[in-house]
């Protein structure tokens, strides 16, 4: 049997994913959390009379803290499976991926376990962010 014929049988028998529903949930939940973040930012900006850029940093810290805490308590995976990419793509997902990888290797020690595995999933995000930042700065400064 050829692979194409086999794939036909597989496609016929397998259940299709409801992509539109997933995209819609991610879009709405991402938007909702973005809105909550913005309300929170405006609130702390007014409360502590800080600058715009400073307030973004504090919101980021709070999101990372809450996401990591919820991962540690074992709740964030349920939240993620409900809200889907709406909480995985923003910084909450980054913090969650780091804490989840760290927790997995807790028993293997601080250095060989947590230290070397905490960036297992997020390491490539950091690396390629730096690479792309370099490329775009180069384009902006040298070429343009």
């Amino acid at each position: 049997m050829k692979l194409e014929e086999y794939k036909e049988i597989v496609d016929k028998c397998s259940k299709k994913e409801n992509k539109i529903k997933n995209i819609l949930i991610s879009f709405l939940s991402g938007g909702l959390f973005g809105l909550l973040g913005e309300i929170f930012r405006k609130y702390i900006q007014r409360l502590f009379s800080i600058s715009n850029s400073e307030s973004y940093m504090y919101v980021f810290i709070v999101i990372v803290f809450i996401a990591s805490l919820l991962t540690g308590l074992g709740v964030f995976d349920n939240i993620a499976s409900f809200f889907k990419c709406g909480v995985i793509v923003p910084s909450s997902g980054f913090a969650h991926a780091m804490s989840a990888s760290g927790l997995d290797h807790k028993r293997e020690g601080l250095v060989n376990g947590i230290g070397s595995n905490i960036f297992k999933m997020t390491g490539s995000i950091i690396l390629f962010s730096i690479v792309s930042a370099f490329v775009f700065v180069f384009i902006k400064v040298v070429i343009l």
């Binding site: 692979l3 014929e5 397998s14 994913e17 990419c85």
Partner: protein, 314 residues
């Protein structure tokens, strides 16, 4: 390649169930109610399950054949190091119970008195090893299966019992080029169909000779793929094909394709088939032969299935 065994019986079995993501329909001999079983790592928690299964059966045997899904059979080797049994570790992923029974039956044919065949798997250790970190909780496709947490041990000997081992068919690895790591049913269905065809050809039996053909852990979608391949490629239709992975969990259909892991097949066999009126049973264990590295370098995934026909004497 089929071998006929004479007067070899499965005498006893003992099953332990760990905590699972879904409710399990059948009853085990013993339960544990936490994922970690009082240990600090998931690997040690899996060993606890196997140790409980070996302790539960509590019989002196000549050799112990054990298997699980962890790297280098960690759970089996570390659990068996606590006992004084000669030990062989076998690995053919989720078909390990059948390959263990084939090795045990051959050893008994060559003169040993009794052998213990055990398997264990843990839902979180498989998740951590093959998929994502435990707490990550990524989006799971509906065709993906969920590993059953549990362990099972059984005794094989020449002493007369109510399950007689008959023909064993050792399967050949099949690689059709399929590489979707989330759809194990589709990976294994091809080799499962091939082994069933070869078994029927070697034994000159028709598919309706068996009261039930219990496949390993294809899941609900894998089972219909198997039926499709059997009728299209091998022109075999009919037969009472039941998948162990599809009957173990309760109310799982909207979230997963079924249970998987080496424990599924023996667990469904001892709890479902033995309690029904089936007499001629064909067990087909199927396993996906990939590793963490092979799936990362985007290789296609070979699979293997072994078949064992047993007669239930009532």
């Amino acid at each position: 390649m089929s071998i006929l065994f004479k007067d070899i019986y499965i005498n006893d079995h003992y099953s332990v169930l760990g905590k699972n993501m879904f409710n399990v329909r059948f009853k085990a001999n013993e339960y544990t109610n936490s994922f970690y079983n009082g240990k600090k790592s998931i690997e040690e928690a899996e060993e606890v399950l196997l140790v409980k299964a070996i302790d539960g059966i509590n019989k002196k045997v000549d050799v112990c054949i054990s298997s699980d899904l962890t790297d280098q059979l960690t759970a089996s080797s570390y659990s068996l190091s606590k006992y004084n049994y000669p030990y062989i570790g076998v690995y053919s992923a989720c078909s390990s119970f059948v390959s263990g029974l084939i090795v045990a039956s051959s050893l008994i044919n060559s003169g040993l008195r009794s052998a213990m065949v055990c398997v264990c798997s843990h839902t979180l250790s498989s998740e951590k090893q093959y998929r994502f970190p435990i707490e990550y909780g990524p989006y799971r496709r509906k065709v993906s299966t969920t590993t059953l947490s549990g362990a099972l041990s059984s005794i094989v000997s020449k002493e007369k019992g109510n399950i007689r081992i008959e023909y064993a068919t050792i399967g050949t690895p099949v690689d059709i080029g399929y590489s979707d790591i989330n759809n194990f049913g589709a990976i294994m269905a091809m080799s499962c169909a091939k082994t069933i065809y070869e078994h029927l050809k070697d034994t000159k039996r028709s598919i309706n000779y068996y009261d039930i053909i219990l496949t390993g852990d294809l899941g609900i979608y894998g089972l219909s793929i198997l039926k499709g391949v059997l009728s299209k490629e091998y022109k075999i239709s009919g037969g009472n094909l039941v998948d162990a992975g599809s009957i173990i969990y309760e109310n799982f259909e909207s979230k997963t394709a079924g249970a998987s892991g080496p424990v599924c097949l023996p667990f469904a066999f001892f709890n479902y088939v033995l309690n029904s009126k089936y007499k001629r049973v064909l067990l087909v264990g199927s396993g996906s032969l990939h590793s963490k590295k092979s799936s990362l370098i985007k290789n296609s995934i070979p699979s293997i299935s072994h078949a064992l026909s047993v007669e239930v004497i009532k």
